[in-house]
Structures are given as structure tokens and as C-alpha cells.
Amino acid sequence: MLFEPFTDIVPSFFGTLNQYPLLLTIFLHTVIVIPMFWIYSQEKERLENEA
């Protein structure tokens, strides 16, 4: 059932993303994970430069 496009009653940003299978999920998980790469590289640099 989740693999068909839906139309909810009220259009909204999330309702729109929700139209396509897994788009909302992939979008949110990507947005959350990408900054963690940045945090990782920042911490790596900091640790490498510590005496």
C-alpha cells in the first residue's frame, strides 16, 4: 500500500515529499546523516593535530 502515490487532504511540503515511494524517508535520513560526515572529518582533523 505504501508503494502507490497518495494524495492527502491538505498539500504541504511533507505531503508532497510523501507522494513518492520512500522519498520522504530517504530525504530525511540523508539530511540527518550528511552532517555526520562533516562532524567526522572535523573530529579527525582535530585528533590528528593534537599532540
Binding site: L2, F6, I9, V10, G15, L22, L24, H29, I32
Partner: protein, 466 residues
């Protein structure tokens, strides 16, 4: 009980633990009444109805766990910070005020039961909203007491030594306490009502309470098997990331069917499906550390406590993680929503995630109060953990079978009507499932009796190393 505690904060903790244990007993008795009524509906009909027994059952549950959590904090606070809790005298006074309030609230539940359809009932008798039935006057009292408790914790944490465990607990407690406010309101819009209600319940049991358990487990591993603080605290931060990362947006899995928009299907399902992962991490971590530390020759300083902590790691994953995952996807949930399946998950989750580790803390308190260096398992302690775990797990299986039958007949086959409900309640699987649930509930109560016997007597037992 002999009192060798040098910290006043830990004495206060034992008071909280004592009331918690009493309320746990009340919870079990009420549960047995309610379970009996499922099978014999005439039992105490119009004297002490199911709605009253169930209300006291779930309120006793929530309150005993909150008491044990507050007690746990008062217990570990001086050990983590190295100083006596700031304002502990006020903390003691607040304990008495809170306990008096809880007593009044429960007596009103039992003796008054219902009221007229106006705000006076909401303010004085109960709010009629699952788990947070406490009348508004008591809500306000709870807020005041908890602010006092938070004051104790915060002032002590900033004055004493700051550990990773304390940082997590501090942040977590502020969120935990603040969330209670979300349930303190009235609206005539049932969708809005349930939307905010879930902010309290979900963000408690599937976010802030879980993080609290993670902190207790970290503390326990250091205390019980000498695990390294650095390792344990690193794991704690990983667990916090995973618990909040999955749990906060996982709140959406309660917004599938209450009138809220459809985008919650996807957000709720896919974030809450991740909720078992931190529980796997906790389980793996506890097991691995136990093996490694005892393998390296560290003695276990409190065997019953460690057994309860280990049961927690496993039970949390099984009850909250697995049973929760079973029905978290909307494709399944549309059929199982509001059935005995939900009850099955609830029973094992509350037990596995919370009751177990809090009972572990009771044992840590017994050890400290009696100045025991190494507390060993006894026949009673083994019977307690075995029978209670067997009982709750048995209840869960029974309810799962009953729930499965109910979902099949009432929802899938018969169209979810009034008639469908009653037909499903009379099917063989359902009735037998509820019968086994009652039997296993009795097993749980017997285990509880062993637990109390052990907690009261083990302090004097000469087998322990002092």
C-alpha cells in the same frame, strides 16, 4: 534494615525504592483483578469495575517506575559527583509530600471512581486519559515536586565532579520532566488530545526513559563488573544518538490513525523501525562487557543486580524492540491497532525495558545499605528473577496468541464492528489466551513474593562477602 549509608541522598533513595516496591505489588494485584474480569465479567461488577482496576494497574506501574527512577538518581548522584546532594533535606520533604499526594489520588480512584461531566472531575477525581489519569491538582503537585528534584540534581551536578553519565542524565531528566506538561491540558478535539498525549507517553517510554536506562546500565556496568568508564560512556553517547535519532521522529508511529496527516505513515514507520537498533547495541554491549570483565578476572560485586541488568538488556530488545517492530508498520498496524497485540507488546516492553533494571537498582541499594562487598545470588533471588521473567514472558505469549486471534477474526474477517469485537472475544484462541495470561500473572505474583522476601532478608544473609 541496618543503615550503613554515609550519604543522606542514598537514604532518600531507599525510601523511594521502598514505595516503588509497594506500588509494584499493587500493580500486580490490580492486574490480577482485571485479568480475572476478562474471564469472569461478573467479578466485582459495579463494585470495582475493570476500568477502575485497570486505571490503578497502569498508574501504579507508571508511578512505581518514576519513583524507582528518582530513587536511582538520588542513589547514584553522590557516587558520580563525589558530593552530598545539594538540598537533600528539601528532597526528603518533597518525598513525603509526593507520597501523600499519590496516596490520596489512588484512594480517590478506588473509592470515588467517576464523576460528573465537568471540569471539577478533571481537577479532583481523574482526567480519564490513559496512564496520565492523575487529576489536575496532582499534576501541578507533581510538577512542583519534580522541579525540586531537578533542583537537587542540577545544583549537585554543577558543584561536584561532572561525568559523562551525569551529563546525559541531567539533559535527559530536563526533557523527561518537561514532557509531562504536554499532557496537562484539556481540549474538546479528540485528535488534538491524543496528539499531545502521545508526546508524553512515547517521548517518555521510547526516548527519554530509554536514555535513562542507558545511563543506569552504564553506571551499573562500572559498579557491578568494573567496566572502564571511558568505554561505557562512549557507548552511552552512541546509544543516545541512536535512541533519540530513532525515537523522536518515531513518535509518528502513533499518528497513523488519529486524524493526523498521511505523511506520518512514512516518517513514523521508517524512523520507529530503527528503534530496535540501539536496543541491539545495548544488549551486545552489556553482554560483551560482562564476558570481557569477568574473563579478565573482575569479580561480580552484586550477582542478582547483574542478572537483572542482563535481563534488562535482553528484555528491552525483545519486548520493546521485537514486539514493537512486529506492529510498527502501518500495513500491519491498521489491523492490530487497539487489540490484545498491543497489550502483549506493552507488557513485555515495560517489564523488559524498565522493571528489570529498576529492580536491579533495588539490589544495588540493598548491597550499599548493608555494607556488603560482594552480594551473591540466593535461592530466593533466583526464584524471583526466574518466576517474574517467566510469568511476564508467558503473559506476553498468551496475549500475542489472543491478539492474533482477535486481529484475524475481528479486523480481517468480520469488518471491525461491535459484533466482530464480541465474536472475536469468544473465540477459543482468545479465551484460552486470556486464561493462560491469568495463570502466568499468578506466576509473576509468586515471583514478586520471592523478590520482596529476598530484598528484605538478603541483607542479613551470612553468605555474602562483607
Amino acid at each position: 534494615m541496618a543503615n550503613n549509608l554515609k550519604w543522606e541522598s542514598q537514604k532518600l533513595a531507599t525510601w523511594y525504592f521502598t514505595v516503588a516496591a509497594v506500588l509494584f505489588g499493587a500493580q500486580l494485584l490490580m492486574g490480577l483483578i482485571a485479568a480475572t474480569q476478562f474471564l469472569y465479567p461478573a467479578f466485582l461488577f459495579e463494585l470495582f469495575d475493570f476500568s477502575v482496576a485497570r486505571m490503578v494497574h497502569i498508574n501504579a506501574l507508571v508511578v512505581w517506575m518514576l519513583y524507582a527512577m528518582i530513587g536511582s538518581v538520588y542513589w547514584l548522584l553522590p557516587e558520580e559527583t563525589g558530593i552530598e546532594t545539594v538540598g537533600v533535606g528539601i528532597g526528603k520533604l518533597l518525598f513525603w509530600i509526593l507520597t501523600a499526594a499519590v496516596t490520596v489520588v489512588v484512594l480517590v480512584y478506588i473509592l470515588v471512581q467517576v464523576g460528573p461531566a465537568d471540569q471539577s472531575t478533571i481537577w479532583l477525581i481523574h482526567e480519564g486519559r490513559e496512564y496520565i489519569e492523575a487529576p489536575r491538582w496532582a499534576d501541578i503537585g507533581i510538577v512542583v515536586v519534580v522541579l525540586g528534584f531537578l533542583g537537587n540534581v542540577f545544583l549537585t551536578a554543577i558543584k561536584g565532579e561532572r561525568t559523562g553519565i551525569m551529563t546525559v542524565i541531567l539533559a535527559d531528566l530536563i526533557a523527561l520532566a518537561g514532557l509531562y506538561l504536554a499532557g496537562m491540558g484539556y481540549t474538546d478535539n479528540i485528535s488534538m488530545d491524543q496528539f499531545w498525549w502521545w508526546w508524553v507517553i512515547h517521548l517518555w517510554v521510547e526516548a527519554t526513559w530509554e536514555v535513562f536506562v542507558g545511563s543506569l546500565a552504564a553506571y551499573g556496568l562500572i559498579r557491578l563488573i568494573g567496566a572502564s568508564r571511558q568505554t561505557v560512556e562512549m557507548w552511552l553517547w552512541i546509544e543516545v544518538a541512536m535512541l533519540f535519532g530513532s525515537g523522536i521522529l518515531g513518535l509518528g508511529h502513533h499518528y497513523f490513525w488519529i486524524g493526523t496527516p498521511e505523511y506520518w505513515w512514512e516518517i513514523g514507520a521508517l524512523f520507529s523501525s530503527l528503534e530496535p537498533l540501539p536496543l541491539v547495541a545495548m544488549f551486545v554491549h552489556v553482554t560483551y562487557d560482562w564476558g570481557r570483565e569477568t574473563g579478565q578476572g573482575h569479580e561480580v560485586s552484586n550477582s542478582p543486580a547483574l542478572a537483572w541488568f542482563f535481563t534488562n538488556a535482553f528484555g528491552n530488545f525483545l519486548g520493546a524492540g521485537i514486539w514493537g517492530f512486529f506492529h510498527t508498520l502501518p500495513q500491519v498496524n491498521i489491523y492490530t491497532h487497539g487489540t490484545q497485540f498491543t497489550s502483549a507488546h506493552g507488557h513485555l516492553a515495560f517489564y523488559g525495558a524498565y522493571a528489570t533494571i529498576l529492580i536491579g537498582m533495588f539490589y544495588i541499594a540493598v548491597q550499599g545499605t548493608n555494607n556488603i562487598k560482594q552480594l551473591k545470588a540466593t535461592f530466593d533471588s533466583k526464584m524471583a528473577i526466574f518466576l517474574i521473567t517467566l510469568g511476564v514472558f508467558g503473559m506476553t505469549i498468551a496475549l500475542t496468541v489472543a491478539g492474533y486471534g482477535q486481529v484475524l477474526v475481528e479486523r480481517a474477517q468480520m469488518g471491525a464492528t461491535w459484533e466482530a469485537f464480541f465474536i472475536s472475544q469468544d473465540t477459543l484462541w482468545f479465551v484460552q489466551g486470556l486464561g493462560w495470561r491469568l495463570a502466568m500473572g499468578v506466576v509473576t505474583l509468586v515471583g514478586f513474593v520471592y523478590l520482596i522476601k529476598d530484598l528484605l532478608s538478603t541483607g542479613k544473609n551470612p553468605i555474602h562477602v562483607r
